[in-house]
């Protein structure tokens, strides 16, 4: 039996490798949609592009068409549906630098976008949702054109040289609809990326998704002639070739997201994505615990503990604790003040500044001390 097996095996193997690979590869296409369309957005606004993606996810019929939507934005930081922007982004720096901050409706972590980043979104029926398939399609397409060491790891990141992260993945799933999108860093400003994704907030206790930081590198460092246009072309072609189609104006074209006629209701999605309530208000509840020690007051080294609870992006309570009993009366007064005045304060500059002013006025009327400000740091 063994003898026959090996001799037959040898002669048959050669004949079968060619035929079985070909048939095997083509047989999996039975599970693909009949049609595929490549869309390239003409907008460079993160909000407009996210709105388009969400509109398609809600309204488009994916039963026999898969879509690949590609775009790039002017500088923006985008975090996941269940993330805490204060924890993930350096918000003050973003606002001074004029960098947009946006919350996606998909899960996953925080990424920095600029014109050197390609965004890819595979919108398909839930039945055809398959992240690995999408990632491998892009990796294969890029590797046919450029000689790069790219792999997909088990966290669904694309790694360059088995080390540098060049892509982050996120997905959104519904009953019949799904999309899987990811970034592709080919020429971003990496130093800006590190500064913006380094949040100064600490002492946070929350259940929000935490981003996993990784070293990044631009693909262009290893593929010098890479451009947005070439990437879109190579990836789009590959997407269509998988169902034996060439790029034509019917199956690959530009698209203007903000076209209410073509996408009725998109303006509402857009305004929601830009609203404070969505970007900051959807943050899972968290609390801040900070400790300030080393201040000396009348010969006693004090330690001040603060606890701030934030729900839906609003401060709901502040409380203090000081380890100096002589000042207990002050601490009590402040805690009372907070419980009376802090009910639902948006965690942003204006409301907090107002609170600080009110607090200082309140203390001044009580104490008439000259260096009141020096005592408290709101």
């Amino acid at each position: 039996m063994y003898l026959i097996k090996s001799s037959w095996g040898c002669t048959n193997f050669r004949r079968f490798t060619k035929s079985c690979y070909f048939r095997w590869a083509s047989s999996t296409s039975a599970s693909r949609a009949a049609n595929r369309v490549v869309l390239i957005s003409t907008s460079d606004s993160i909000y407009e592009n996210l709105a388009l993606e969400e509109w398609m996810y809600e309204k488009t019929d994916f039963s026999d068409t898969d879509y690949l939507l590609m775009w790039r934005n002017k500088p923006a930081v985008v975090f996941g549906r269940h993330q805490n922007p204060w924890l993930e982004v350096n918000i003050p720096l973003a606002s001074t630098d004029g960098v947009d901050i946006a919350r996606r409706c998909s899960g996953g972590g925080t990424v920095y976008h600029d014109e050197g980043n390609l965004n890819l979104s595979f919108l398909k029926s839930r039945l055809r949702y398959n992240r690995k398939e999408n990632l491998h399609l892009v990796v294969d397409a890029v590797k046919t054109r450029w000689d790069l060491d790219l792999i997909v790891n088990d966290r669904d990141d694309i790694l360059l040289d088995h080390f540098y992260k060049v892509s982050g993945t996120a997905a959104k799933l519904g009953r019949t609809q799904s999309f899987h999108h990811f970034t592709l860093l080919f020429d971003v400003d990496t130093s800006r990326l590190s500064r913006l994704l380094d949040s100064p907030m600490h002492g946070v206790d929350s259940k929000a998704t935490k981003s996993v930081p990784s070293s990044v590198l631009n693909l262009k460092e290893k593929a010098l002639d890479m451009t947005f246009e070439l990437l879109v072309d190579v990836i789009g072609q590959r997407f269509l070739q998988q169902i034996d189609q060439q790029m034509t104006p019917q199956n690959a074209h530009f698209i203007n997201p903000i076209n209410e006629a073509e996408f009725p209701g998109i303006k509402d999605i857009l305004s929601r994505l830009k609203s404070w309530n969505w970007i900051y208000g959807k943050t899972p509840k968290f609390s801040l615990h900070r400790t300030f020690s080393g201040h000396e007051f009348r010969g006693h080294v004090c330690t001040l503990n603060t606890e701030i609870n934030i729900e839906k992006g609003h401060v709901v309570s502040i409380s203090l604790h000081l380890n100096y009993t002589d000042l207990d009366w002050l601490v009590t007064t402040l805690n009372t003040f907070y419980s009376e005045n802090v009910h639902n304060l948006a965690l942003e500059n204006q409301s907090l500044s107002q609170l600080k002013e009110k607090c200082l006025t309140h203390i001044e009327t009580l104490l008439s001390l000259e260096n009141t400000e020096a005592l408290f740091c709101c």
Binding site: M1, S27, H82, A171, R175, P284
Partner: protein, 482 residues
């Protein structure tokens, strides 16, 4: 079954009657698919609502737990089927969970930010049932339960509603094969029995009609595996079906019942399997010769020898070398069980629809014994008498679609099996022999589908090669005689 999607909870104090629910053990995990229409409660109170625990179903990607991000409903809200009830998150994905039912939300099991496990209850929904019929049946139930004429009926387990259905249709429950837990007779079983009885009557009445012979043409009505057209030169259209043509001009809506319903459920389950196909052609010229000679001998023993028993035995011999193809996948617990018996299922086109009875322990049977068993199953299939014993326990399936026509197919894997083969028709085609001469060869195509979660292409290819080798060189069978 550990992964039943929901469990019927009844408030205490109601009349405790047995309640039939579809158990997934017997029919390839059918129990995993929700069947709200089957739920019944028998109660004395006027309240006619069912509270169902809606469990978090598998969202795929091997995810076992998620975190609740947001609730879109609260207790007391009216919810319709397909309305969003909550948003959950896994590592990378944000998933919207939608309701499977129409009803009212009664209880939420988790708070926001809590961990929810797949397979555990997410929320309670109170489902409305059709009030009128329930009320009437309640009254009759109490009467009918105590008056039970037939002693035998008491022995077969069935709910009062099922018994009433049997009585109305004048059938004895002991004649009906129960597919529920502990052999319980379910409403579906009664309906299936009734349909098969009707079909049997119809068959008798139509036997006198002109039924084309199975020699030269392929007939849609006969079970697969009876004959394979060996001539490719003559192209003949299949004979017209024997049954009368359907009414023209009127739509007809019928609920999925019996075998069709079972097939619908199995196929919906099968959709979860990531299949891959592997196709090849087999030169069965030597086999055709061999069968001509053996057929005569078999007929003397009163057995119809077709190619199918030979294919089945070859599959079993090949499975000995690649046992992973004879395994059973428990996707929920991520275990595969290498099955010791080769229970090869043979797809049959019966008057009831597609059924796949299996031949048990093929590894210990000779080709004769397989042929005899196949004949027996075919006659049972024709008579509509294939029971659970025949229909369950399949570990690997074969479909002879070639008997009807066709060369390639993409057969659907029946869970929890991991592979299936579809045999195309044998055609006579020219092939090259030694020194470039052209010879006539009998070519048959085989299409395998396998579950890519468990089987890789190389294994499938090697298994197929081995099977092919047995068929191309039938004398190799001799070397495996034990």
């Amino acid at each position: 079954a550990q992964n039943q999607p929901f469990h019927h909870s009844r408030p205490s104090g109601w009349l405790a009657c047995c309640c039939s629910y579809h158990n997934g053990q017997n029919k390839a995990r059918l129990g995993q698919v929700a069947l709200p229409l089957q739920w019944r409660t028998f109660m004395t109170s006027a309240d006619l609502f069912d509270i169902v625990q809606y469990k978090l179903s598998d969202i795929g990607e091997g995810i076992r737990e998620v975190i609740i991000v947001e609730w879109y409903v609260k207790p007391g809200d009216k919810v319709n089927q397909f309305d969003s009830v909550c948003e959950v998150k896994s590592d990378k994905a944000s998933v919207t969970i939608t309701s499977r039912y129409d009803g009212f939300v009664r209880k939420l099991y988790h708070e926001v930010d809590a961990v929810a496990l797949v397979g555990q209850p997410l929320l309670d929904i109170e489902i409305e049932e059709s009030a009128e019929s329930e009320k009437q049946e309640d009254v009759r139930e109490i009467d009918g339960g105590s008056v039970s004429k037939d002693e035998e009926d008491k022995k077969s387990l069935a709910t009062p509603a099922v018994r009433r259905l049997a009585i109305e249709n004048k059938i004895s429950l002991s004649d009906v094969i129960g597919t529920g837990k502990d052999g319980r007779v379910l409403k579906e079983d009664v309906i299936r029995y009734l349909e098969s009885k009707q079909v049997a009557q119809f068959e008798k009445s139509s036997a006198s009609k002109d039924v084309p012979s199975s020699q030269s043409t392929s007939i849609p009505q006969t079970p697969l595996g009876k004959s394979i057209p060996t001539s490719a030169a003559k192209v003949e259209f299949p004979a017209q079906p024997v049954s009368s043509p359907a009414q023209v001009g009127e739509d007809r809506t019928v609920p999925l019942k019996g075998v069709n319903k079972a097939m619908f459920k199995i196929m919906s389950e099968a959709l979860k399997i990531p299949p891959f196909g592997y196709y090849d052609e087999v030169d069965v010229s030597q086999l055709v010769d061999m069968r001509k000679r053996l057929k005569v001998i078999a007929q003397q023993r009163g057995i119809q020898l077709t190619y199918m028993p030979i294919f089945i035995k070859a599959v079993s011999l090949s499975l000995l070398q690649y046992p992973i193809l004879n395994s059973s996948l428990d996707a929920a617990s991520e275990h595969i069980t290498y099955k010791a018996s080769h229970n090869i299922g043979v797809a049959m086109d019966t008057p009831e629809g597609l059924l796949v009875p299996s031949i048990k322990n093929v590894q210990s049977l000779s080709i004769f014994e397989i042929a005899a068993e196949l004949n027996r199953l075919q006659s049972l299939g024709l008579a509509g008498k294939l029971g659970t014993a025949e229909l369950s326990g399949t570990t690997f399936s074969l479909s002879n679609i070639g008997a009807i026509g066709g060369t390639y197919a993409r057969p659907i894997i029946m869970p929890p099996n991991v592979a299936i083969g579809a045999i195309g028709k044998i055609q006579i085609l020219p092939r090259f022999a030694a020194q470039g001469a052209i010879k006539e060869a009998h070519i048959m195509n085989i299409s395998w589908s396998a579950d890519h979660r468990v089987i890789d292409g190389a294994t499938m290819a090697r298994f197929s090669n081995l099977w092919k080798q047995y068929l191309e060189e039938p004398t190799t069978f001799l070397l495996n005689l034990k």
